[in-house]
Amino acid sequence: MLAALFSHGISELFSWKPFLFGGTPFAFNKVALLALVSTVMCSFLFIGGSRKRALVPSGIQNVAEAGYELVENSIGVEVMGEQDGRKWAPFLAALFFWIFFINIWEVIPGIQFPATSRIAIPMYLALQTWIIFIVVGFKAQGPKYVFNSIFPPGVPKFLYVLVAPIELVSIFIVRPFSLAVRLFANMVAGHVLLTVFTLMCIELLKANSGAYQIAIIPLPFFMLVAMTGFEILVAVLQAYIFTILTAVYVGEALHPAH
């Protein structure tokens, strides 16, 4: 079935030819366009929301303030504590909302492509988080950061033989990959699912030769509607997970026994 739907390979869902600066590292394609449009929308939302100073917020101010406070309280303060959480909340909010905006294109009619379903952006964000928490760790704990990280307190000493290599690999090598792959794989899966159900609807309409297709068309269509709703949830959830993990990693780097 998939082979029939994607006769030229699944990559045609994700490969976008550049329409500016082709052949250069600045080749500008749909992914780049969506990333920049997300930046503009995110900026408009928060600059617009912060300009209004109504005592009782409404409209864009309400969205901006509620969104910022959500990230600050339920991610920053909850994970990193009162002081660090409030200090890091602006970065975490920028990260959360940018990932959300870039994810949500998946269900926007006419666009229907999450830029995070390309590995480049999740990888960039994961590497950025990786660099940030390592730099923060060395800044907060000095050279003992690596030692503190791979020899966590409270573990029986003989277990360090096992724990230390696991922690070393998990913290300094696996984390950026797991961050990137989690976001990327979820968005790819969602995009493929929506595409499959969309193409099933279209193919059944095209091949309509009697009662058989008419009876079956509602099934993929119902799934398409349901999956669209589900993918909105996934877009929010993946942004939340990426942000909360970033907060956890930075929080751990700030305090060894966190």
Binding site: G9, E12, F21, A93, Q112, F113, I202
Partner: protein, 224 residues
């Protein structure tokens, strides 16, 4: 209403699926594939053409990141982070802090106003209680003075009545005495007249009076 909304949503979704299937358009426009196949067909040998055509069917690895997308993704995120951290969030945080301060100040003001109102209400209550107590005292005093006045008036009336009764009694006694005196005089006169008629001679007046009074006294003594 719900059914109408559901139908409308389903209609819009269906229209979107059919009219703007941009996800499908990616599949419907195999431009890269076509380009690849065209390039393959331009090769000289059949083997090379076959190999190149086979390569065209192979999907590009989705795991390998595209440098241009990393560059643009990085630029886009750095811009949004810069803009938000520099311009949007400080103003937003200031707005939130100002609002918190204003709400805290309003709550403190409201608390103070409530405390003042409660104190004022307590003061009013105290004054009211005092006024009630004063009114009770005044009523009691008035009642007592009215009672005293009534007792005084009653006593005075009783005294007056007593005086009146005494005076009346005295007057009655005086009148009785006078009547008795008059009666004695009259009886004496009548007796004299009668005696004169009986004895047909006149006694001198003093003798007559003495005789009559002696008679009356004897009558009074025997009658009394």
């Amino acid at each position: 209403m719900k059914i109408r909304k559901l139908l409308a949503t389903a209609g819009v979704a269906m229209a979107l699926v059919i009219a703007v299937p941009s996800v499908a358009s990616a599949a419907a426009k195999p431009s890269e594939f076509t380009d690849c196949m065209l390039k393959a067909s331009e090769l000289k040998t059949t083997t090379a053409q076959d190999n190149a055509a086979n390569n065209c069917h192979k999907a590009t690895s989705p795991i390998l990141p595209a440098l241009n997308e990393i560059v643009w993704g990085g630029i886009a995120f750095l811009i949004v982070a810069g803009v938000l951290l520099k311009f949007a969030f400080p103003a937003l945080k200031k707005g939130l802090a100002d609002r918190s301060a204003k709400i805290a100040s309003d709550i403190a003001g409201a608390e103070a106003a409530r405390a003042a109102a409660e104190a004022e209400a307590a003061e009013y209550q105290a004054k009211l209680a005092e006024a009630r107590s004063d009114a009770g005292r005044i009523i009691e005093e008035a009642r007592q003075s009215a009672e005293a006045l009534r007792a005084d008036l009653v006593a005075r009336a009783e005294a007056d009545a007593q005086g009146i009764r005494a005076r009346a009694s005295e007057e009655v006694q005086a009148l009785t005495a006078r009547a008795l005196a008059d009666l004695q005089g009259r009886v004496a006169d009548l007796s004299i007249e009668l005696a004169e008629k009986v004895v047909e001679h006149n006694l001198d007046h003093d003798t007559q009076i003495a005789l009559i009074e002696g008679y009356i006294n004897s009558v009074g003594t025997s009658g009394g």
